[in-house]
């Protein structure tokens, strides 16, 4: 066999071996538990980063975001601690504060979110998102309208706050329908954020609210036909008003008390 052909065959076999080794490694790796992201105390980082605190904080932030991008509840474990470390390395780095306020409450960590948010308002670079998202947390999760209004007004007065954020802050509490108030807040977040994760979260919230409205309209139609509201949402399907109950973006079940109102865990009562 000519030497060149032999070399080519050997080359192909070796390259195939490289690909096969990589593939086998990935298979084995996926079976292993993933180690948690290393949390080095902020004083250590600050003493070792040669004064490059903002660059180090940014670098840490990228690592944290890569790690927690899927936002599954179990992945939120440790996110607050990592964000606090980043904030300690560079207290003026504003976005981690805002991100924590939006993401942590989804994992039942509202207290941590508000603590981080309040610290951000005090020490970070002026950023309308920090007080605004803090107001959102008070409105949706803590049902504290007074503090929600206070922080939304702080956001509206922060330089750079978009027009629709100022509008939401100005009309907050004036709307009779709290669900539509909440929807307006999420729409403003969706339109003003450049972060894919935040937009995803806002979009899911808007879809959740729209689905509740949709189911209540279906319940009203049920009453027109049958003369009473449905006692369960299954009756809407049984009476062929809906083909199926639309899925909730958060995977939570919808329910009704037979009064035409539909609710789920995140409904602002």
């Amino acid at each position: 066999m000519p030497r060149t052909v032999l070399h080519v065959i050997i080359g192909i076999v070796v390259c195939a071996g490289i690909v096969a080794t990589q593939y086998s490694f990935d298979v084995l790796k996926n079976q292993q538990p993933k180690p948690p992201l290393l949390l080095i105390p902020a004083p250590v980082i600050r003493s070792a980063d040669m004064g490059l605190h903002s660059a180090t904080a940014a670098f840490l932030w990228v690592g944290v975001i890569q790690r927690f991008a899927t936002l599954a509840a179990d992945r939120l474990n440790g996110l607050a601690a990592h964000i606090k470390t980043i904030n300690d390395v560079d207290p003026k780095f504003s976005y981690p504060y805002a991100f924590a306020e939006l993401v942590l409450p989804a994992g039942d960590r509202v207290d941590e979110a508000t603590e981080i948010g309040k610290r951000g308002i005090a020490v970070a670079d002026p950023d309308w998102q920090i007080p605004y998202y803090l107001g959102v947390d008070y409105h949706i999760y803590l049902k504290d309208r007074k503090n929600a209004a206070i922080y939304m007004n702080v956001a509206a007065r922060t330089p750079g706050a978009p027009a629709n954020v100022k509008y939401v802050a100005a009309t907050y509490g004036n709307r009779q329908d709290l669900r539509q108030q909440t929807r307006a807040i999420w729409v403003s977040i969706y339109e003003n954020s450049r972060d894919g994760i935040v937009q995803q979260q806002a979009e899911a919230q808007i879809k959740h609210i729209d689905t509740l409205d949709f189911l209540e309209k279906a319940a009203a139609l049920f009453k027109e036909r049958i003369g009473r509201y449905p006692k369960t949402l299954g009756e809407l399907v049984a009476q062929k008003i809906l083909k199926a109950i639309p899925p909730d973006p958060f995977g939570l079940p919808y329910d009704t008390k037979g009064d035409g109102k539909v609710f789920s865990k995140f409904e602002a009562q």
Partner: protein, 253 residues
């Protein structure tokens, strides 16, 4: 075989006698010793800090030394015309490339083991006992260094030492970012996913040699993964050395 051994021995001697290398090594050892101070200001996390920063420091300095030594390995020989002397003897280009590779690889392995000895001493001093799991990380670092030496030698056959060093740093960075790249394109177009997947398999995937996080968190490491990583380094280095040999043979010296 004898020629390979002779060239390797001379390359090894030349590498370990380099004064700039001694300077970098001393600084690396001082850095590892410095982790004791960092551990003392870590709010009770001293062993975690010492192990994580110690292993990271060993790795970074190891790569700096590798790039420094390997980037000028072939190109300086060409520049100084010493390569002609060697090739005028009955020494094939393959024997030259393999001899250079093994000599440099042995030097870097020795330097890594020196740093490892100091690191293990520091961990023991800090109350961590003998850090046996770190040996896995050190072995993988040596495997990675082998692949990296072959990579930078290839660049050294093509370009100046400075350019070879820059290319090496770029490959080092990209090689550790491939998983992130793949994750990024998950929700993008099929064409982009295909390109990313191709890059994932073509560019040396260096992240498989990194088990430092798992070591620091006392997580078990599959021996099969270490063996696969070693096999990967061997196969990839073989391809790179073959290409280096072909380029050198075709070069108009």
């Amino acid at each position: 075989m004898k020629n390979i051994f002779v060239i390797a021995k001379n390359t090894f001697r030349a590498a370990i006698r380099d004064r700039i290398l001694h300077g970098i090594l001393v600084f690396a050892l001082l850095f590892i010793l410095f982790t004791v101070f960092l551990g003392s200001i870590s709010l009770g996390e001293d062993l975690v800090v010492i192990r994580s920063i110690g292993l990271a420091g060993m790795y970074l300095f190891g790569m700096i030394i590798t790039i420094f030594l390997a980037s000028s390995l072939i190109s300086l020989e060409i520049e100084r015309r010493t390569l002609y002397l060697i090739l005028s003897k009955p020494v094939s280009t393959l024997e030259l490339v393999l001899g250079k590779f093994f000599g440099l690889f042995a030097a870097i392995a020795l330097i890594t083991l020196c740093m490892a000895a100091v690191y293990l001493g520091v961990v023991a001093y800090a109350g961590g006992g003998f850090d046996a799991p770190s040996l896995g990380a050190i072995v993988l670092q040596i495997f990675e260094a082998g692949l990296f030496v072959a990579m930078v030698m290839l660049f050294s056959s093509l370009a100046t030492p400075f350019a070879a060093a820059i290319y090496g740093i770029l490959v080092l960075y990209i090689g550790h970012s491939l998983s992130v790249l793949l994750q990024y394109v998950q929700h993008r177009s099929i064409a982009l996913k295909a390109v990313a997947k191709a890059l994932y398999y073509i560019v040396p995937n260096l992240e498989k040699f990194n088990i430092r996080n798992a070591i620091v968190h006392h997580m078990p490491v599959d021996v099969g993964m270490i063996l696969l990583a070693g096999l990967y380094a061997l196969l990839y280095a073989a391809v790179l050395l073959y290409l280096a040999k072909q380029l050198l043979a075709k070069k108009d010296l």
